[in-house]
């Protein structure tokens, strides 16, 4: 009891801290969501537009507080270890259940153990923060917590997820470890950080993980001794003192003698100095900071993959046989137990190559992939956050590193102004003694001064004592100092914001690296995709709600599916019943669910569930999805599509804010998004590129069989859904690769897909709208012959707007604004017209509710009025190039769309026969082809949808490029008709200024 009580204050304090930070954040900026700071709210915040963030956070606060109370209450409850199970919890915050705490232990670097009780559902971040607080560590971004499983591999606790979901049946025991080794430890701000790094390295060295030569073992050992024992004392340090220490895996007498010999030469070095010397030598070791993973190359040869700050290293035995610097890697992905990197073409080569490695198992592949994503983000990017538009991108990317990057943590730590904290070294008591009478090493005097913490005075010993004392006194104040940290953080964020350009630059460097994890995405996704999708789904579902549920119930064959569905329905219920607040949590739960399942299937499930949720988006989406899933190889997955949509939507939203002129900026983002979507889950990094690039997306819908491009939306959507494989073969360049992937995917996931399809059919009618939206989102604008008077948004595709809107709605909903919600619901239900309406409505909502700055976007996209619908896709064939240019000039985003397809038209839901997505890429163009074959009312339709994304600098003549693209497409498929042309011109949003 005592323990618990004593800890209560701590926990209570914690949430407050969060709140503060959250508040700050909201004030400061919506875009940068630092998981650390936001904690609970992070996941949701990530996905949503900035504006919503603030609100959302507010909601979160409430939730947090509630949780807190619950915690307190629950603490008194008996502790139970809850095994990971899939549990649909309804808005737990609201109905305070008994929260149970779990005893939890963390092995610290100095060999001691920290224990505490955690709420069962606590996220990793909570524990990590507690530990760092215990350690008095501010520069904590370099560190992490390891799960304790039996493997020799490192499994990091994801701080953004519930611990329970990650740990499964293991005991709640963790190890505090360095996660990102600072390439230059001297740039760390605090000695205490260096101290922990030293402890980690000593472990690494002693265990043999960090190989050293004899000489280096001895040298590092001697610095360790100096740091721990102080100066060598011939009386005190007899021959055996050294034996207590382990310096090397195979420590010999010879080595110990050498250590002692060197120890004698370090006289006068303070512990902090000794640590610094230690680190200066350790950092040069070639394996410093290299995280090794066993693998086999394509020929089955055992190799090791080393992930480090600079990239990926390939070792055979101890020899480095290849190396891929981050800038050279375009994409990293994994599928099953295979890990792939796509490498930029070498100087004289024309094509990118993809290199595959075989990992021992699926988990290992996923682990490696995650580590790569994290390392790349941490070391190469200035900020893990994406620009606002990026948030939508988030959808596309699955797992992402959510912490601070090295650049950020450096900035943040520059702001640390607390007095150097006092900390006890393992045997620091002896240090002071040894210092007595010890002359200050002359050599190091200068160094000493450099160390702010240790004020070295003329008299060595006294100095040290003073230092210690000073630190101690300071220590008391440290608690307060922490208050300061948030402030610093704020500043940091500000700076980040101010430096968007820099970001973009660096980003452009890296931009190309995509992280692709097919399954992962969904599962791992920070919530980005899922959440947003979910929100949308929810809204949609609200309308359809019951039916869906029933449908879902129908598919009992798929247990997993059911679970997801259940969760979805849960979500719906929550949504309907409650205020937005609960959602994020719900989502998280949902997200986590797959993990608990832990099977690969889970991913699929997730996807499926997403699909469901996406119904709102579109059947086509679904179809795409299925196909895409199959397609894993190319990475074009439905998921991608979704993200792209989201992305595309985002630009619109943002455009208004930024600048009307700026409109271009967002487009880039969108295009990037598209790319990402093509490639599967791309890491948001690409967004940053956006600055200069202007991307144009042309979507050309081909209807091979003079299908009935009925004016009705439903018809369209169905068509989209139904893809004929024959066509696909002819169409796509990538078909071969895709087929491969298909096979694999099929093996495991097939069932789910089917289920999804079924559902799709059932829901088609409802979904039609959604489908359209998807398409729009995709930036596909059906060919519009009519260009609305150069007005910005020409023919608005319901879809596009819808997407944007829907997203917005979702966000808004989360925000908890009821108005928004209502509208959103309406929108969802609404057919095309309604959608449009809601779009408008949404926009308005957004503007009103959200931070004005951010919200502006809605305007551009909304060309409410004229829906120019050209029902005949066929006729459309001629989309004159001219038009396109016009569009560009006037509007950032121009969508030419054939009229809405009647939403309800197809009472007869078409049957989706097949769907394929093929993606091919060339230097500046990405072409995605969706082929859908549908049987509708006895008429089979094949619909081929091509999306061409042209990326390039402002210098490129986009009009020409667009014309060329259309021309080529036509040449390829003479029969095709262009239904939609959407042109997005994007330049990067300038700094997200408002913040």
């Amino acid at each position: 009891m005592e323990e618990r009580e004593s800890q209560l204050p701590e926990e209570v304090a914690e949430p407050k801290g969060n709140l503060e930070e959250a508040t700050i954040e909201s004030q400061q900026e919506a875009k940068a969501d630092d998981k650390e700071e936001e904690k609970h709210s992070v996941s949701s915040a990530d996905t949503q537009p900035a504006k919503e963030d603030s609100k959302e956070i507010g909601v979160e606060k409430v939730a947090d507080e509630q949780e807190e109370k619950q915690k307190v209450e629950e603490k008194r409850e008996t502790k139970e270890v809850q095994t990971a199970e899939i549990k649909m919890e309804k808005a737990p915050q609201k109905a305070p259940k008994k929260i149970k705490t779990v005893p939890c232990k963390v092995m610290l670097l100095d060999g001691t153990e920290y224990s505490c009780d955690l709420e069962k559902r606590a996220k990793g971040q909570v524990l990590f923060d507690k530990v760092c607080e215990q350690l008095n560590l501010l520069e904590k971004d370099y560190f992490g917590l390891l799960l304790r499983d039996n493997s020799d591999q490192k499994n990091w606790l994801d701080s953004s997820k519930e611990i329970k979901r990650q740990i499964r049946s293991l005991p709640w025991i963790f190890t505090f470890n360095v996660k990102f080794y600072p390439p230059d430890p001297s740039q760390l701000t605090e000695d205490i950080t260096r101290y922990f790094l030293c402890l980690q390295l000593r472990q690494d060295i002693a265990s043999g993980r960090l190989p050293c030569s004899f000489v280096t073992h001895a040298l590092l050992g001697s610095y360790a001794l100096q740091a721990e024992l102080g100066d060598y004392d011939s009386e005190e340090h007899n021959n055996h003192y050294i034996s207590e220490f382990q310096f090397a895996p195979n420590q010999t007498k010879e080595m110990e003698d050498k250590v002692v010999e060197l120890h004698k030469t370090h006289r006068g070095l303070t512990p902090a100095q000794a640590d610094s010397h230690f680190l200066e030598n350790a950092k040069r070791l070639s394996m410093y900071g290299v995280d090794l993973h066993h693998a086999k190359d394509s020929e089955g040869v055992d190799i090791m993959l080393g992930v480090c700050a600079n990239g990926l290293l390939i070792y055979k035995d101890r020899l480095r046989i290849n190396r891929f610097a981050w800038p050279k890697i375009l994409k990293i992905s994994y599928k099953r137990s295979n890990f792939y990197i796509k490498v930029r073409p070498a100087e004289l080569e024309q094509f990118e190559s993809t290199i595959g490695f075989k990992l021992p198992n699926h988990r290992a592949a996923k682990r490696l992939w995650k580590v790569c994503v994290e390392h790349h983000t941490f070391y190469r990017l200035i900020s893990p956050e994406q620009p606002p538009k990026a948030k939508f991108l988030t959808l596309g990317s699955k797992f992402r590193y959510s912490g601070r990057t090295q650049a950020q943590t450096r900035q943040a730590s520059n702001l640390i102004d607390r007095p150097a904290p006092y900390f006890e070294r393992t045997s620091s008591k002896r240090v002071s003694r040894s210092l007595d009478g010890a002359p200050v090493g002359i050599t190091d005097q200068s160094l000493l001064r450099d160390f702010s913490a240790a004020t070295v005075g003329p008299t060595g010993d006294m100095v040290f004592d003073d230092e210690a004392v000073g630190q101690t006194t300071l220590k008391n104040g440290e608690g307060r100092d922490e208050d300061g940290s948030p402030t610093k953080i704020q500043q940091l964020k500000l700076t980040q914001d101010e430096k968007p350009k820099a970001t973009s630059l660096s980003a452009s460097y890296d931009n190309d690296l995509n992280y692709k994890a097919e399954e992962e995405e969904v599962e791992e996704d920070q919530s980005g995709l899922i959440i947003s999708a979910a929100s949308v789904a929810e809204t949609i579902k609200v309308e359809t709600g019951e039916e869906e549920t029933q449908q879902q119930d129908l598919d009992k064959t798929q247990d997993d599916l059911l679970k997801h569905q259940a969760s979805i329905s849960e979500l719906k219920r929550n949504f309907m019943e409650s205020t937005p607040e609960p959602r994020p949590n719900e989502w998280e739960k949902r997200r986590i669910t797959p993990l608990s399942l832990q099977t690969q299937g889970s991913l699929e499930e997730e996807i499926t569930s997403i699909l469901f949720s996406k119904e709102g988006f579109s059947t086509s989406m679904k179809s795409t999805f299925t196909s895409s899933t199959a397609r894993t190889a190319e990475g074009t997955v439905v998921k991608d599509n979704v993200p792209s949509e989201m992305l595309s939507a985002s630009p619109f939203l943002q455009l208004p804010e930024k600048l009307a002129s700026r409109a271009e900026g967002p487009c880039t983002g969108a295009s990037d998004a598209d790319k990402s979507s093509h490639e599967t889950l791309n890491v948001v990094e690409e967004k940053k590129q956006a600055e200069v690039g202007i991307e144009e997306t042309v979507v050309i819908d081909e209807i091979n069989r003079g299908t009935i491009q009925a004016v009705t939306d439903a018809g369209e959507s169905r068509k989209v859904e139904h893809l004929s494989k024959k066509d696909s073969s002819s169409l796509s360049s990538d078909s071969s690769s895709s087929s491969e992937s298909e096979d694999e995917v099929v093996g495991e996931y097939q069932p789910h897909h089917r289920a999804a399809e079924d559902i799709i059919r059932e829901e088609q009618e409802e979904n039609e709208d959604a489908k359209r939206m998807e398409e729009c989102a995709t930036k596909v604008i059906q060919s519009v012959e009519t260009i609305q008077e150069g007005s910005k948004v020409t023919v608005n595709q319901t879809q596009v707007t819808a997407k944007a809107l829907s997203q917005e709605n979702a966000v808004a909903i989360k925000t908890g604004e009821k108005n928004v919600m209502e509208e959103g619901k309406q929108d969802l239900r609404a057919e095309d017209e309604e959608e449009q309406l809601r779009i408008n409505g949404d926009v308005s909502h957004v503007d009103i509710d959200v931070v004005p700055q951010i919200i502006c976007c809605s305007e551009p996209p909304v060309v409410k009025t004229e829906m120019v619908t050209i029902s005949d896709a066929t006729q459309r064939t001629e989309i004159s190039t001219k038009e396109v240019p016009i569009v560009q000039t006037e509007t950032k985003t121009i969508t030419y769309e054939s009229p809405q397809f009647d939403g309800s038209a197809g009472g007869d839901a078409g049957v989706l026969l097949s769907a394929q997505t093929i993606t091919s890429e060339s230097v500046s163009t990405t072409t995605t082809t969706h082929i859908t074959k549908t049987v509708k009312g006895g008429v089979s339709e094949t619909r081929i949808e091509k999306r061409i994304v042209i990326t390039g600098d402002a210098d490129i003549d986009h009009d020409q490029a667009l014309a060329q693209a259309i021309k080529e497409a036509k040449e390829q498929h003479p029969d095709m008709s262009v239904t939609r042309v959407v042109v997005h011109k994007e330049t990067e949003l300038a700094e997200e200024g408002e913040e």
């Binding site: 190989p211 030569s213 004899f214 000489v215 280096t216 040298l219 070639s286 020899l319 290849n322 190396r323």
Partner: protein
């Protein structure tokens, strides 16, 4: 571990006198000299070379006596890989040359080096396939050196990255490249040399400047730091490779010291092959 600042700093050089059997065809599979060796000229060049080591570079030269049974023993570089206080005595691919090892090992031990021997019977390693840049090792996987030999390098010098570079033909890695400065790689212009350079650039975490010389053999030079003040570069004489002089002249703050080794080159040797450079001072 030795800091970068010590790269190129040496105190001792181990050389070995020329045997009269220098021009004799090697036994076994080892190729004999492609052209007849002018023994007198070889001696002259050797004399100049050791003179430079002593006089111009200020090194303490330890000269091992010639062994008539070991015609190629003048190429001492093949016998050991030295970095800091650690020396890995090699296991030459040519069995006939393994006899050269023992005396080298002995002298290194006398110099209080930490001597490591190749324990793997499957390993073959020639020292002239090993390029140490000051930051890392590149080991040429060649006719002479195999993967396991390279592993021995990695095992011995664990502080450093050891990368492998395929080398075609009968060249050693250092037949066409070497360090011309702390961050500068001198490299020949042949396709093989360029390819090797590309490989090294791919494998390294660092950036090296490259100094391209028209003639592959001229890519092998010896960079030596002379105290705090300056450094010297021993390079092939303009008489041998007139076109390759100019690139070296672009290097600033370097004392260029031309030296010829045309005769030893007939055995596959190069400037760096004829000495083992050692830094005995503990510098930290």
């Amino acid at each position: 571990m030795a800091g970068l600042s010590s790269f190129g700093r040496y105190t001792h050089a181990v050389v070995r006198s020329l045997p009269d059997s220098l021009g004799a065809p090697a036994t076994g599979d080892g190729a004999g000299p492609a052209e007849p060796v002018d023994l007198a000229k070889a001696h002259r060049q050797y004399g100049v070379y050791t003179g430079i080591l002593r006089q111009k570079l200020g090194l303490q030269v330890i000269e091992l006596p010639a062994d008539e049974g070991l015609p190629r023993s003048v190429l001492v570089e093949d016998a050991a890989v030295i970095q800091g206080d650690t020396a890995l005595v090699t296991r030459p691919w040519e069995p006939a040359r393994r006899g050269e090892i023992s005396s080298i090992k002995k002298v290194l031990e006398e110099l209080k080096m930490r001597v490591v021997e190749v324990t793997d019977d499957g390993a073959t390693l020639d020292g002239s396939d090993v390029l140490f840049t000051g930051r890392e090792f590149f080991v040429g996987i060649s006719k002479w050196t195999n993967h396991r030999g390279a592993e021995m390098v990695a095992d011995t010098f664990r502080d450093f990255a050891v990368s492998t570079v395929p080398v075609a033909g009968s060249s050693h890695l250092k037949s066409f490249c070497s360090m011309a400065g702390p961050d500068t790689v001198a490299i020949g212009s042949s396709e093989a040399a360029k390819k090797a350079m590309r490989t090294m650039e791919q494998l390294t975490d660092h950036h090296y400047d490259t100094l391209t010389v028209p003639d592959d053999p001229a890519g092998n030079c010896v960079y030596v730091r002379l105290g705090p003040k300056g450094s010297a570069l021993l390079h092939r004489s303009p008489e041998e490779f007139p076109n390759s002089l100019q690139p070296f002249q672009k290097l600033a703050d370097l004392t260029l010291i031309p030296a010829a080794c045309s005769e030893v080159a007939k055995l596959g040797g190069a400037l760096s092959s004829c000495s083992l450079l050692i830094n005995k001072k503990l510098d930290r």
